[in-house]
Amino acid sequence: MSLAEYQRVPTIAAHDYESSFARKLERMWETRPGLIGWLGTVDHKEIGIRYIVTAFVFLILGGIEALIMRVQLAQPNEHVLTPEQYDQLFTTHGMTMIFLYSMPVLSGFSNYLWPLILGSRDMAMPRLNALSYWVYLCSGIFMYAGFVVGAGPNAGWFNYPPYSSATFNPGFNIDIYALGMVLFGISTTVGGINFMVTALRARAPGMSINRLPILIWGTLTASAGNLLAVPSVSLAFLMLWMDRRLGTHFFDAASEGQPLLWQHLFWIFGHPWVYAIVLPAMGMVSDGLPVFCRRPLVGYSAVALATVITMVIGFGVWVHHMFATGLPNLGLSFFSAASLVIVIPSAVSVFAWTATIWTGRVVFTSAFMFYASFIVLFVIGGVSGFMTASVPVDWQLTDTYFGVAHLHYVLIGINVFPVVGALYFWFPKMTGRMLSERLGRWNFWTMFIGFNLAFFPMHIVGLLGMPRRIYTYPTDYGWNTNNMIISIGAFLFAIGVALLIANIAISLRRGRVAGPNPWDAPTLEWATPSPPPPYNFVVIPTVASRHPLWEDRLNESTCESSIRTGAELDNDKEAIAVTALDAEPDVILKMPHDTVLPFLLSLCLTALFVGMAALTWWLVVAALVAGAVIAVAWLWPRAALGQTAETA
């Protein structure tokens, strides 16, 4: 770059998406065809969709595992599975759903939507974005590598030592899970950093923090939480692996190690994590639901604040997973109280959503039905959490199917239902076509009825004393009928999921063409064509309110957002960065072009972990060296990105 290009006043102009200016941007931003282009793309929309698709593949895998378990549990004393097979199935199911589905699917939506909602051309760090996807994919394959050869993880998703130690679990089942989790943690961390920087920097001018849609708050909070929580679990798994293979003694009671240290490290991570995997989903409801109620969300500030506070308190409740471990009652009381207090921010959101529907005017769509039913499921899942938060009651409820009911109501209720709702809502944006509303109703009712049929009776068998993680049960405990109902419900729910997939498959080809804003929604993503072009916005919009596309009807602010007219930024791939709070324009960012370096780096990381799992040290060293070389090449200061001294 020459000196003159290092500083400039952006040209302000109006362009539409058919103009020659748009075609120029298109050529600059589009992903090249061919394999290299496919591996090298840094387009957040492409990466977002890959995330969503991959996560759904894992949802189906985890779901099929669950269905097999439900066949085994449908009746007492069944022999469909051996105990060992059952143990691997429930552990892999938990691992898949909690790690490989729940978080990545939300990262997918956030990746796809953030720049569009924020009025930006890409995430702040597109290459890091690609890296986080590839590492996620590699870690998923890595973690499944044992399962497919019959050596899947078998110590439960929270993997308590000493049962997960080499003494009691000598195979490589746990090694793969442990190292895979560290690899997966890298992906989450990298993704979290990218979300943080994007939220603080890569927004449209004028989108100050009091104008951020709740989805942004949700993912931002989740990312901040992850950055502080994930190290705990990565460390725990690394220490466990060292105990197993390198002879350390962290968790090994025979040498004064502490099995309870594992539980602390795991749940210090685990509880913030369960909020991280729902807050973005709650955000998607907070943004989507009002569209179908034809009014802004009730209590925006309260809901945004509640989102953040949930996470903050969420760091102080982890011991509620350890109420029965014999800790002193004083400590237990504190964590019990904190777990009750955390109900309050959740309640704020629940009342805000209900009030939004009550005071709004409802437009019935499938997306709306998923969103509205989510509120009810959240309440059911929430109140079962409220019961387990009480120490003496939890001494009875813990490790029974009551807990299993709780976790499915919250995970499916607040993650899967909003995600499916979000698919109905944003699918038109992503593909340009509407999902079928008729199939959508069938989809909704089978999922909703199937879900409640499958998981509500789990509360009852839980109260009747059925422990979790048992591969079979005797006839005479009064658990039989409920288990049969659960299994039938599980299959009905699966049919619902199949209907969703069918709807997607059909609508991709034959769906009604959507147009830019089929729901008449207020946020910026709906100001772009469907699907949006690679550069998102032909000019950089300027934002003056929370609802840029409803301004003319709401009269909320004296200013007006400017969407057609804005900065051109067409001197190669460019975007704008703003100040963190007020979103004043700060700098013009030079955006990187497609590159396969992230893909290669993820291969190195995978090789590193394969080397560790196989205790093959030359591979570890080779992978580290190769990774370092790639990292240096990646970070090498480039004139085109404005990273080097000006040349006159």
Binding site: Y160, A302, L340, F351, V362, M387, R469, G478
Partner: protein, 338 residues
Amino acid sequence: MLSVALTLLVAATAPALADAPMSYLTGYGPRAHPVTALTWGLLAISVAVMVIMTVLVVLAVLRRGRPRIVVDADGRLPVDHPAGGVNWIVIGIAATSIALLGSLIWTMAVLARVAAPPTEAGLTLEVTGHQWWWQVRYTDAEKPSRVFVTANEIHIPVNTPVRIRLRSDDVIHSFWVPALGGKMDVIPGQTNETWIEADKPGSYPGRCAEYCGVQHANMAFSVIAQSEDDFQRWWDHELAAPPSPANDIVASGQRLFQVRCGACHAIRGTGAGGIYGPDLSHLMDRDALAAGALPNTPAHLAGWVADPQGSKPGNQMPYLALPGPELGKIGAYLQTLD
């Protein structure tokens, strides 16, 4: 409508409560009563919250109070910003806070009440969790001669608080007798304590509640509460040596047992003193075999000894490939252990 469906479901399953021995919705004794009451109390709050919120959401969706939507001239839907929504949050949070505060106080009160037995414990048991059975040691500080070890069946006197010291021999387990109170984890490297007290004679089933490996599903035990006299009689009987063999078959069964099984199992008053497996003294007095995996009938016992891996796959007692006649003799011997 959802809540109606759910209420129906609950109603349909409520009769099941009667024949659900592991249920903790009914409790016995001073350890369980306060917890059972609290459980019902929080359950009631929860169901109320669930019903109220479901009704509100359904009403909100179906309500016809506001003007219908009319698409405006340029094809867009109307939007407005009605006031009043925020009151929902204010009122809702106020009500929630009251419910939470009440629950918190009740919780703390119960916690304080069940933390320790109301009177000094009359008996201390040392229970050790093994993959996948329970060892129980009866202690007596005054008369060491009355100390003995048994497995998987715990007898206690009624109306006496019993202190339980929990240790693990391998991985984490959890000691749980639903009708008598909550769980306490059994963690290697530390000794946890809990207590139980039954106010009615009877048999209370218990189970290991922390996942501990392939046979976690079959790690049950039972607590049998007896009157003080019956309990003392039982204890005295446990201390008694087995009868000397009445015939040759039993005698050779005993010899075979010593050789084949004695390395792992103990029978008080004989040469068999193994500690790897459950103590088999007075085996015939127990209701179940192998931590609840099988009922204790002669046929099941014979089947177990012949092939322990068949009914409890993965358990720590190996398949011993004993020839038929030996099995018969050992079986006959075991039958005399009452």
